[in-house]
Symmetry: C2
Subunit: 414 residues, 2 copies
């Protein structure tokens, strides 16, 4: 065999096989109640309506749907996406849109377009693991910014300080990555003020904002807050925001379908990058989803998803109140949307180790450490409430409460 190790690129050597994703496999055993994944609830997948839409494509446009398509994306799908965004107050033209094979591909495209080895991306501490993987796969690094105590966005003082230090230290920062709507993993939502402040910061520094909005439509409590993309559009309209959306959480993830919204200058560069990556996204699926959107039924699916997730979220919060030890240093976020909440434990507890104990008790979560590019915090965990059933939430949180209690007892005996 060739000595592949000596032939692999620097990028390849910087890629990290996600230990989380490896652990996810362990937690998929049928007897384990898993709060670990990020799977949407299959009970709201509109199977029969999707079947009908697919059959319309077979009836009317099969040969076109089975042929190659353009890199930019199917015209019909882009028209539906423009209407979908318009209903939320976002104004788009086709040249602001690129259809992608879901958000992870968008994270890859943007990373490839901007990042040279050693470059930096500003991102939250913690932040989405897949974004970290994309950044690291181009040998770039993350300048981590803590969130405010109020959990309403970045600690803006820390942002300014870390940015100034980095610039003074000669670090090249290329963009700012944020998930303002129901942040993954922590679940909280950025306030309007913090969104505006970040946009101002982007204007001042000339840095683009990569706004990842997979959960934006999954708000089950409170009022929608404009996206940063919208705030720019309604205000100075400087085109500094690249906004990522996906069907994975509002319809089905198996379609691997999403879209990028950005200034046409960015989109046209993304098209060139994507062409060399996969020529175009699955054409049949694009036309199929467009056909489904034309039925007007997507809004109802999103409403059902919100209703269901609200019930599941409430059930998890109530179960935590019931089963977690009552201590000031055990707390969790109460998200108004999305799929996750974030549980913080006493500093003496390492959730990487706690996970082993939890798996013994047949319950699983994601240890928080995986969501930090460096200097991870070890006493937190991400819990998914969209996928498990109410019964599983009840029983799983009960088992988890027991595991936490035992871990605290052990740590206090030491």
């Amino acid at each position: 065999m060739p000595d592949f190790g000596s032939l692999f690129s620097i990028n390849a050597n910087n890629m990290k096989a996600s230990t989380i994703r490896e652990l996810l496999k362990l937690t998929q055993k049928p007897d384990i109640i898993s709060f670990a994944g990020g799977l949407p609830a299959p009970e709201v997948f509109p199977v029969e309506d999707l079947r009908a839409a697919a059959n319309v494509i077979f009836d009317t446009k099969a040969k076109q749907a089975l042929q190659y398509g353009t890199t930019e994306g199917d015209d019909g799908l882009r028209e539906e996406l423009i209407k979908f965004e318009q209903k939320q107050g976002v104004e788009l033209k086709k040249e602001n849109l690129l259809v992608v094979s879901a958000s992870q591909q968008a994270l890859d495209i943007v990373a490839k377009l901007f990042l040279d080895p050693g470059d930096y991306v500003i991102a939250g501490r913690p932040t989405y693991l897949g974004a970290l993987q994309a950044i690291q796969s181009y040998s770039a690094k993350v300048l981590g910014i803590p969130f405010s105590e109020a959990q309403d966005g970045f600690d803006m003082d820390a942002l300014r300080k870390r940015h100034a230090e980095a610039v003074a230290g000669g670090k090249k920062i290329k963009y700012i990555y944020v998930i303002p709507d129901f942040q993954n993993p922590a679940g909280f939502c950025w306030s309007l003020e913090k969104r505006k402040a970040l946009l101002e910061f982007a204007y001042e520094t000339g840095l683009p904002i990569l706004e990842d909005s997979p959960y934006r439509e999954i708000r089950f409590l409170g009022e929608a807050i404009p996206s940063i993309y919208q705030l720019d559009q309604r205000g100075a309209n400087k085109g500094v925001v690249i906004n990522l959306k996906t069907f994975s959480k509002i319809l089905v993830p198996g379609a691997r379908m999403g879209w990028i919204m950005a200034d046409p200058a960015v989109i046209s560069k993304c098209v060139v990058a994507k062409q060399a990556m996969d020529l175009c996204t699955n054409v049949f699926t694009q036309m199929w989803i467009a056909e489904y959107m034309r039925t007007g039924k997507l809004d109802a699916v999103i409403r059902s998803t919100r209703e269901l997730y609200k019930v599941k979220r409430n059930h998890m919060v109530e179960a935590l109140e019931r089963y977690m030890p009552k201590r000031a240093d055990i707390r969790w976020t109460r998200p108004e949307g999305g799929l996750f909440l974030w549980l913080t434990l006493p500093e003496s507890i390492d959730t990487d180790r706690l996970l082993l104990k939890a798996i013994e008790k047949k319950v699983a979560f994601v240890a928080g450490s995986g969501f930090y590019a460096d200097e991870p915090e070890h006493n937190s965990m991400r819990m998914n409430f969209s996928y498990p059933s109410l019964e599983q939430i009840e029983e799983g949180v009960k088992r988890l409460g027991l595991a936490v209690k035992e871990a605290i007892d052990e740590s206090e005996r030491r």
Copy 2:
């Protein structure tokens, strides 16, 4: 707007918007007969059988097919791929296989895994444009190798000479890219001897071979020759070959579905890379194609494709004999498979300019220059025979013959 130009990566600045793909858009006007694309013939798409298979998935596995899947690919699809390859004499285990979003994604993954800026890939002169784009998108370069006079593979003396010079000059070569079965763009097929010689060269130099085989099954004349992947497997079995396959030419391209066959050490690295690129390939389509394969009907589609392409290829060759000026310096390949032939004109003719004249006459092709990473030859063109109808082939070649005649007359008047 941020100064995106100053923020884009070196890779982004090395990405080339393919002028060919831009031109393709021009040639898609309905009144133009186009030999320019690389589209398979839609008349062989098995629409009703594909519809039936999709409906089986809706009936039996919808929720799973619409959910996230593993990066490695659907188990059922990988089982079918193993059987499909076994019928051709290729022995695989699941760990030799990665499902990808068609070959272009595989070209991107391999380039990302191996190429640092300034690295080299050995490839033919000419070679597939999409492979060049993938390589250039990581700021790497191509060491171009001419083909032999007999058009049976690389000129092996030239390969050894260029390789030795490059190594002596400190160039880092990472892999060898070839399309042995019906080379794109030239259409010819590598002989058994040349395949063996290249494999030996790989063993000697420790370089992996990236064998791209999108057209392997589309042989309509002569006997199949073992792939280089097979030759390695049957011989020293050193695992030096990474073989790329796709459904784009044997079934439908709109499904964006292909597979990589390689040593497990390479596959596991590809999995890590792909995870950061798109998490997984379209799950619904994977299960749908697997279901279609289980019907056993793919072989018949491949047979029909071969029959149809043979008729079209013959028709194009005969039309060229009828309509092209009879000169020793006008010649074309007579491919035994695939979708393309390669036409060479007198050296005085620049096909980039000829294309403009051809488009005036409502016929299009791809100028050969786009298939060279550097120092392009200018007197050749790629002609696709799979997509146009027999009538279009007849009329289009007639128009092209006229354009060539006029161009020669003009060049001789100068």
